[in-house]
Amino acid sequence: MARARARVLIRPKEGILDPQGKAVERALPALGFEGVGHVRVGRMVELEAEDPARIPELCEKLLANPLIEDFEIESIDGA
């Protein structure tokens, strides 16, 4: 059975302090990258699923915590 490949992007919700993003943001000027702001650090998960219709459910139940994180699902290779 063909499996659908997907990429899930997970990031902290707007309004929740993201100390990793802040640390990256503060480091950039020291390297000469001025004018970069609003850095958010999240996670990316790639997976293959036999039933792509179930991907949103598994994102809500496991890959992301909907209280604190938003997620987006992208399909890879048009599956």
Binding site: P12, I16, L62, I68
Partner: protein
């Protein structure tokens, strides 16, 4: 009084928790994460550590273990459950406690003895904390509800919040009151040799709820 202390792959404070349960005047046994049977157990501790490597998010994978299914049923039936540190994270992920625990504001692992205020009673406890993801967070409206319903159980003393937790919250209880979670480690404060025996009072309070 019989305690069950859940042990996940990656737990590291379960032995101290067993010891604390016994010192508080009960019997205690480990409950392996694949066990589903809590028959004969009067109170459950979900201990600290790094369950399943804390992969994905702290506590995210542990919540799906067979033992946690049994703990959820135990809690629904009114059984007392105490989650400490990673155990608190697991209980939040499992939806048995409100809110979530995020990376410390400082991005640093915090390891220190600190003072906790017990909400309501005014008691103060000297207990160590050691965690990298202990910043308690919930939407403002949920925090207001927790305060109104008396679900905030512990706060860090003023100026001692080690992680940026909202409203200095160190521990919360469920709406029914039988599930309690906190980031600091009462099981590490049970012997005068290590500076404080205040942690025993937390175990005694949970035992009191079980009797």
């Amino acid at each position: 009084m019989r305690w069950g202390v859940v042990q996940f792959p990656g737990s590291c404070d379960e032995r101290d928790a067993l010891h604390a349960c016994e010192l508080s005047g009960g019997e205690a046994r480990l409950v392996w994460h694949e066990e589903r049977d809590l028959a004969g157990i009067d109170a459950v501790v979900v201990p600290g550590g790094f369950s399943y490597g804390d992969y994905l998010r702290a506590g995210a994978i542990a919540r799906f273990s067979p033992a946690m299914g049994a703990v959820a049923e135990f809690a629904a039936a009114g059984g007392p459950v105490l989650g400490i540190c990673n155990g608190f994270q697991v209980l939040c992920e499992a939806g048995l406690l409100p809110g979530a625990l995020l990376v410390n504001e400082s991005m640093r692992f915090a390891c220190r003895q600190l003072e906790l205020h017990v909400e309501g009673s005014g008691e103060r406890l000297s207990i160590p904390a050691k965690h990298g993801e202990g910043r308690y967070w919930a939407p403002e409206q949920v925090l207001d509800e927790l305060e109104a319903k008396g679900q905030v159980a512990f706060r860090y003393a003023p100026g001692q919040n080690p992680n940026g937790s909202a409203r200095d919250i160190a521990g919360v209880r469920s709406e029914a009151g039988n599930v309690l979670g906190l980031m600091p480690h009462p099981e590490h404060a049970v012997d005068a040799m290590t500076g404080s025996t205040d942690g025993l009072r937390v175990f005694e309070a949970v035992a009191g709820a079980a009797i």
